[in-house]
Symmetry: C2
Subunit: 107 residues, 2 copies
Amino acid sequence: MSITSDILRGHTEAIILSHLLEQDSYGYQINKDIMKKTDNRCELKEATLYSAFRRLEQAGYIRTYWGDETVGARRRYYSITEEGRQAYQSYKRDWEEAKLTIDQLLK
Amino acid sequence: MSITSDILRGHTEAIILSHLLEQDSYGYQINKDIMKKTDNRCELKEATLYSAFRRLEQAGYIRTYWGDETVGARRRYYSITEEGRQAYQSYKRDWEEAKLTIDQLLK
DNA sequence: AAAATATACCTTGACAGACGAGGTATATAG
DNA sequence: CTATATACCTCGTCTGTCAAGGTATATTTT
């Protein structure tokens, strides 16, 4: 049983930001980590992930830089900005509130 | 602070079904009740509501009938079907699971 | 050596649900 | 007689997800 894309919607950005709070990372890794963390219950599809990266960067919530791999495929790393940290806190509060509201409605 | 449409998405149908578990109702009333229940934190916009009704009816989860108002505007009532009750239970299980999964990711 | 798999990036176009803006009609309050 | 509240509805836009496709490098299997 995995999370539907309609429920996922609205949480993608927060999920990514949360992950970047721990450490800088790159697309492929983030994807794998999220699946692992949730026992495959949540998978951010690549296209979804990359469009979210673009939104987050445009909003100033993340910054990107290329890794210095001398071997293997190049990696584009992402790191969270101070604005990103604040945005994350805001997302998180919204989520806590939404959780209560929806619980209230689904009796 | 009200719930965003991206978070709402994916819950609209469950919210409506849940409400219809209590009693048959009609669009305008459902709308008002949901706002009241949540202290205006959740509002299903009319267009959203009606498109959800159409999906739910098409899926066989609700049935509709006209009220017999002799006075005032006519009302189209909705009632939940047995399939609708089952669908609701399924939505509810999905929600409980999704809640845990998202909580796991937003640390 | 060739083929398959894993790692790693990316774009395009389709789709679906939420909603703003608009419409209709009846009843009541000022 | 003009608002406001009740009650229904549709059309078109917007946005986020994702299927399907692409590129390139490294390793493992056949």
